[in-house]
């Protein structure tokens, strides 16, 4: 067994025994399981109203829900990944980085013949495996729920799309988990280490996407298409903030994975999510000094 896998296994074991990550994981899985059901209930309710309206002769238009895509119900999961999944990933990352400091075991680990880079990479690998298992479970539940709603198992194409969505979700969550590790390594107090990435998450998920739309009140208030803007402060504001709006890019990429034909797939959004994760991993693994892991006990 290599050092890398030893640390990764330890990470998995510690996460399995710790109640806080367990609670977050169970909550995430529960929300994923419920999300497709919520979509189905919404559909059923609206369709019932439609049939009533149709029977009373108020419309002769076809029910728009009759032609929805098979993976329509998976769209709700996207929201829960952004809102709950990312917070779960941050908490897992922070807990992992703080574990040795809280348990005062950092010195025991760092007096072993293991390189700091290997130690950190092993931890990230453990978190990545854990998140992969959580996402896989979530996708299996989504597949089963949608199959039940549709009255039969999903076909090959929607299953492949669901798997691709799972992969994208995993990359997205890993990015936030690594951000949590980064905060845990560089911030000594646990509450601050949790708070800082949570605030950063709120900025990239809520504030940055709003900057563009809030700066365009017409777009915010009215569902009308804006004339294309290629100059001016709003254009540049949007130009700068959109690559940083990780949550919005994930939603766009997920929508593409679930519905769009390959020719219309939003590659740029998927690339933004992937680059976010890669940058976070590189910063943590390559640039973290051993002294940071010791918590400055002798500083």
């Amino acid at each position: 067994m290599t050092m890398l896998s030893t640390v990764a296994r330890q990470e998995l074991l510690a996460s399995r025994r710790n109640r806080a990550p367990q609670f977050l994981i169970v909550m995430f899985i529960a929300m994923v399981a419920v999300s497709a059901m919520i979509g189905w209930l919404t559909n059923t309710t609206v369709s019932d109203v439609y049939r009533q309206v149709l029977a009373e002769g108020y419309t002769d238009q076809p029910n728009p829900f009759d032609s929805i895509a098979q993976l329509y119900y998976a769209h709700n999961t996207v929201i829960y990944v952004v809102l709950i999944g990312s917070l779960m990933a941050i908490a897992l990352g922070v807990q992992s980085a703080l574990r040795d400091r809280k348990a005062s075991t950092a010195d025991l680990v760092l007096t072993r013949p293991i390189r700091v880079k290997t130690l950190l990479a092993g931890r990230l690998l453990g978190i990545a495996v854990l998140l992969a298992a959580v996402v896989a479970l979530g996708m299996v539940i989504t597949w089963a729920t949608i199959s039940v709603i549709n009255g039969g198992p999903l076909g090959v194409s929607p299953t492949v799309r669901l798997v691709a969505f799972g992969g994208l979700t995993w990359v997205f969550l890993c990015g936030f988990a690594v951000s949590g590790v980064l905060a845990g390594v560089y911030i000594k107090r646990e509450t601050t280490a949790l708070l800082v990435p949570f605030v950063a998450w709120a900025v990239v998920v809520f504030v940055l996407p709003q900057l563009g739309t809030a700066a365009r009140p017409v777009s915010l208030l009215n569902p009308v298409a804006l004339p294309p803007q290629t100059t001016g402060i709003f254009h540049w504001l949007s130009y700068v903030t959109s690559p940083l709006s990780i949550g919005e890019n994930f939603k766009t990429a997920s929508s593409g994975v679930l519905d769009a034909p390959l020719s219309a797939f939003p590659w740029a959004s998927a690339a933004v999510v992937s680059v976010f994760m890669i940058i976070a991993v590189v910063v943590v693994v390559l640039f973290t000094p051993a002294a940071k892991l010791r918590g400055g006990a002798y500083e």
Binding site: L108, V109, T111, R112, P113, Y298
Partner: protein
């Protein structure tokens, strides 16, 4: 020719403008139990942290188990065991899970047999599946020794090993250290501020005061120079001439 498990030359460490360790010159022959005496803040823990490669010295050099701490820190780490003061573990994991992790980090691919041998040596069998969170201070200290010696290191560093232990715990630890040194030939470097501890356990003694080594001799030599514990205590607390 004497081989030295630990040899330092001009080892110095500063935190800002404060010099914690001042040109330490120390040679500990292989197979000794060396006790480094000093009151709080004398620089004992800093010395151990530098020798175990946890801290990088501001100046000077040192070799541990034949390897330079600056140029071959990984080789040094593979030859040492370390028990910090108030040793802690992953409380949610069992004794076996904790020891497996540290043994594997020390390069032992199949750790169960070495762990069993170590626990047998420490007379600590029967707790393998218990979580560390339930262990007393004395039990934790023995687990600390177990994780430090499972890979049979050449040099074992103990930082204030009896801190917080009851008399029975102190006696057990002392017996274990002496037996480990006698049976496995492990060189032991022990930090302590307890005079009685070094005179009962160690084969050679150093006294560190304000970062300077003011005395270094064998136990017999030390007891010859300071025939009573009072005399040793005076050397420990009063100013003295640093050893050459």
């Amino acid at each position: 020719m004497t081989s030295f498990a630990i040899a330092t030359h001009g080892l110095t460490h500063r935190y800002g403008s404060h010099t914690v360790l001042d040109e330490l010159e120390l040679e500990v022959p292989t197979g000794e139990i060396f006790g480094l005496l000093g009151h709080n803040g004398a620089g004992k823990t800093t010395t151990v942290c530098i020798l175990t490669t946890l801290l990088e010295a501001t100046d000077g050099t040192a070799r541990v188990a034949g390897f330079d701490i600056r140029t071959a820190p990984a080789r040094v780490r593979s030859q040492i065991g370390y028990v910090p003061e108030n040793v802690q573990f992953y409380d949610d994991l069992t004794l076996m899970e904790n020891l497996r992790f540290f043994a594997r980090l020390s390069g032992i691919a199949k750790p169960d047999a070495p762990i069993e041998r170590t626990l047998e040596f420490l007379k600590f069998e029967g707790h393998e599946s218990e979580r560390l969170g339930t262990f007393s201070k004395g039990m934790r200290q023995r687990v600390g020794l177990a994780q430090a010696m499972v890979h049979e290191p050449e040099v074992l560093f103990l930082d204030e090993p009896t801190s917080g232990l009851d008399p029975e715990g102190v006696r057990l630890l002392r017996e274990t250290v002496v037996r480990l040194n006698a049976e496995a030939g492990t060189t032991i470097f022990m930090n302590t501020h307890l005079l009685s501890e070094v005179t009962k356990t160690c084969t050679s003694i150093g006294i560190l005061r304000a970062g300077k080594l003011v005395h270094h001799d064998s136990l017999a030599g030390t007891l010859g120079a300071y025939p009573s514990e009072d005399a040793l205590e005076r050397a420990y607390f009063s100013s003295g001439t640093p050893v050459a």
